[in-house]
Amino acid sequence: MTRRPILPPPAPPPRSPVTGARMSRPADPGAAGTGGRAAWPPLAALRRIDAALVAPATAHQLAGVRAGLAVVIALRLATGPYAQLAGQPAALFRPPDVLAWLPSMPPFAVLVGLQVLGTVAAIAAAAGRRATATFAVAWGCLLVLAGLRGSLGKILHNDVLVLLAAVPIMLAPAGARWGDLRASCRWGWPVRAALAVIAAVYFACAVQKLRHTGVTWVTGDNMRWILYAAATASRAPTRAVALFIADRAWLSHLTAAGLLGVELAAPALLAVRRTRPLFVILAALLHLGTWLTLGLDYWGWALTVAVVALPASWWTVAGGSTRRLRRK
């Protein structure tokens, strides 16, 4: 004779949306350990961010982002003036810490060799050939060559964003291929981590402006003097744009506010799938404006934002497949 249970058996824990396995923790993170009470809002927000980080995505999306970043790296390597760095006197060599082990600027053959090796590796990574290894080789070549370019006396930031955003992609699990529509948390987190890095970099730029100058960065004459100095330096393709803005105080304030606003809004705009294309456009305008007014070459930043944020926006996981690809 079997005894009937007095209480109904507890419901089994829910299945993981990633693996289908039973989860050991309660499904509602907000209720975990709180006796069913709603979690403190900031904590709940952090938990939502954490859940989004490890949410599933397709291998196709990761392969797309990796190929895009590989193309950016290939372009940076192929078009950079690295060979011209040869012949720098050792006394003038001021490498960043990561290259402090080098006694002087490497010779021409080494610089060109790294440039060719890195470009070929980046093209191979973009084509999906041994992508994990070739992407790492291309990244390493850009790290060294961009670091050497910044060894002339002034640290350069032109390649910093692509180098940092590529780190999570390099550390992603191997095996992501174009056309593989299986959704798994294996493929989702590297792209979202790259998005987080991009958001953090733009936000850091804004924080430093507010920290070292405050709101007078926008309300003062700061932007006008930046633009007048740039017009004097004549590095931009034209002086007309810088002078046009600098001569109009209201336009200078508006430009400064817009620039700071884009940087401050980066985390919010990149966190929401629907606003990522907007940030891509704003970042492109920001860097186009920087080139037109100051003559600074930041197209690598604009391209990096586009190749990471757009695929993450287009191909979203919905019930184990991607909406965009399902329509095809």
Binding site: L92, D97, P190, K209, R239
Partner: protein
Amino acid sequence: MTAPAAGAEADGLARRARWVAYGLVGLLAFSTIAGVEWWPLSSFRLFSQARTGTAVSWQVAVVDGAGEEHVLPFDQLPRGYRGSHQLAPTLRRLSPRRRDAVCRAWAAAAGRLAVEAGEVRVYRVTGRVPTGHGPGPAPTRTLSVTCAGAGP
């Protein structure tokens, strides 16, 4: 794959994701707050200092055998020399040996422009930023460092 094995794999991937994502964002936050420059990690102080109408720049000049001074046109020199005027503000803090090495390199650069340099002078130049509407007052130069351009 069995359910426990799949769960363990998912846990491992989630752990890796958190280490990488939060680790990188944490490093960026640290470098920003602490102001460290571990390139490519940076404090991202791009244009963060307010600019005013006063501009400070540095000029490197060499003195030839006839005592005539020639300002080094860095933009006309090979790329390896181009950013080196950025070293000028730090020159006073260098050891005499390293400072002399930098000065000899600049003197050699002058040699590329057919100027035989006996002495190198580094000036701090302070002036008004031109606004494109007529010439402003002439900038003032202050001698910062003098060193020998020729080796011992």
